[in-house]
Symmetry: C2
Subunit: 361 residues, 2 copies
């Protein structure tokens, strides 16, 4: 269980090189590296460079295609539907949000979906692209089932994430990215490895009953939705917006994007993703929007603190501070990320690792 | 604590007559009555006809204006901003969703906001208007603060509701309407009246610490967000979409719509509401959308049941079944609704109540 210290630039160079060796073209590799490394700088290591190794394994077995490019297949003034053609999913997702921003410039609001695609990392990244352009951004995707719903047992819906970002005047964008489950699967798997029990409300067992024992997961049991029926409703909304109305594979018809999961069906994944940009500035003027966001941010920061609380954070504020630190001083990658990157280096024959080991006792 | 049995028609006639006596015009009264009574038929009595008495009290003190009509003040191809001019809020909200549907017919997606308005009942009602036209509907509004956020104490944000409805092929629309708090304020007040404790995760005390003792609320303490930081993030999104970008009053600047709450400031409320319609059929063809929704509904109904579970419901399914029953056989109004309607009858001098008392116990 060793973590490692890395500079942002070295990590980026390393994964660009690894992608080249998998046949990913120059520009696609740079776009993808920026997305994954930015996510690590936020401290969101579950969705950063750790994900690259399993994702790249899809290329040699033709579940993804490094020669393909995404394509608009249908569009209107305020929307577009994109076929990812199983191209590099980070790239098709970024291009889709860029198109949503363009649509929003013309129509005030833009909705763009992508199908025939795979894991795009952290949904929140794409939302921040809109915020950088002074727009409200939203991103969602459906996923293979991992979550129970009220009254059921077993895995019925994906943990279908929802993310948004809002430009906030003189402050960094407000930025929020959650799964619709009560807890992330990897938290439960970590507790299992450590032999610990988990809080109530996270997991059901094989009979669909709530349990604090993680030992059966992920083979049996399922994640519980956040806030019970509320999380169910949000996950279903994402399944509709990113799945039903886009033409993506739905629920149990969606194979995992991780190719070497036991029992995973062969063939392409067909995840559905959706991106919304809203040009708030066009509706209420950018100056007034900025002033009102500054007022709201100050109001939240200045709210009376709970006993023992020293500071109140806006969503995303911790992540921006971690990023600033990481850009200035490098960052510590946890052991699971280190293991994944070491495995990736081995897969592609890179001898020099970009990080310096830090022993945690 | 007596409940009462009422027919849908009698209840509607009664509240239309009560609105006439407050000077509400014929058409506005009928639109409003339909919204409130439909909400009661769903069993959502917290947001049905019970709300009419306190809402109507805003008219004589000029916080609402029965002569006013809402007006589009700015618009684009896919959006519009409406000034409610403090007209009957149910009517301005319904007209706003109708405009969002019209915009979505032209542009695929329509976003319409309303400011200078007040309590519009159940957000979900407006979402169903879009679903009736074959579109996905969403509705949200900001509200006066009632909810704490992580790290704070006291009431910082409103319980800002989020609702959606999705047409579902041969099934009734999927339909979801929630507050972003863990529990509704009236559940906590009911426990207080009955001297009961409440589950963990619902309430913080005056110091901002979680408590199971409801006795201090609502005078001190605050509701907790659903799923902790996740509910905070959703409530903030609503504050941005329905408040910041529309020009509505934000957080502590929003007086309660209930005029006789102690300490409530005089003058107009300025709630912000937002309505989205998405023409999924235009993007993927109505037939394919319907087929895919039917598939998803069947998949959920047919999911393996948890131990002790007999049936799995789609969001909204229970509400549609209650409505069918209510239309056929009338419905039982709980005692708080009966009390509110009896008070309303007294306020306007209606002698004959539309319901038949049912003694509990």
């Amino acid at each position: 269980m060793d973590s490692a210290k890395v500079s942002v630039k070295d990590l980026e160079n390393f994964i660009v090189e690894a992608m080249h060796r998998y046949g990913i073209h120059e520009e696609d590799a740079h776009v993808s590296a920026n997305i994954l490394v930015t996510t690590d700088t936020w401290g969101v290591h579950t969705h950063g460079t750790r994900q690259l190794r399993p994702l790249l394994k899809n290329f040699p077995i033709k579940r993804l295609d490094s020669e393909a490019t995404s394509e608009v297949i249908r569009e209107g003034v305020a929307w577009a539907m994109v076929d990812g053609h199983h191209s590099m999913p980070f790239v098709s997702a970024q291009r889709a949000m860029e198109l949503a921003i363009q649509k929003a410039k013309a129509a005030g609001i833009g909705y763009v979906s992508v199908i025939h695609t795979s894991h795009f990392g952290a949904a929140g990244y794409y939302a921040t692209l809109a915020a950088e352009q002074g727009m409200i951004g939203m991103a969602m995707c459906n996923a293979d089932p991992n979550m129970v719903i009220p009254g059921a047992r077993g895995k019925v819906l994906g943990t279908n994430p929802i993310a948004y970002a809002v430009p906030a005047g003189q402050n960094k964008p407000v930025f929020f990215d959650i799964a619709t489950s009560a807890a992330a699967a990897n938290k439960i798997i970590r507790a299992k490895l450590l032999g610990q029990s988990i809080p109530e409300g996270w997991l059901v067992n094989a009979e669909g009953e709530p349990t604090t024992d993680p030992s059966g997961f992920p083979e049996s049991g399922a994640l519980m939705p956040m806030a019970a029926h509320k999380g169910y409703g949000f996950a279903l909304l994402v399944e509709v917006l990113a799945g039903v109305m886009t033409g993506a594979a739905l629920t149990k018809e969606q194979p995992s994007w991780v190719p070497d999961i036991p029992g995973n069906p062969p063939g392409f994944t067909n995840q559905g993703q959706m991106f919304i940009a809203i040009d708030a500035g066009a509706m209420i003027s950018p100056e007034i929007f900025d002033q009102r966001m500054d007022w709201l941010v100050d109001y939240i920061h200045d709210a009376p603190k709970a006993k023992g609380s020293e500071r109140i954070y806006l969503p995303g504020e911790m992540e921006w501070e971690k990023r600033e630190q990481a850009l200035a001083n490098g960052m510590i990658l946890p052991s699971d990320v280190v293991d994944s990157l070491r495995g990736l280096a081995h897969d592609v024959g890179i001898k020099t690792l970009p990080f310096e080991m830090v022993t945690d006792n």
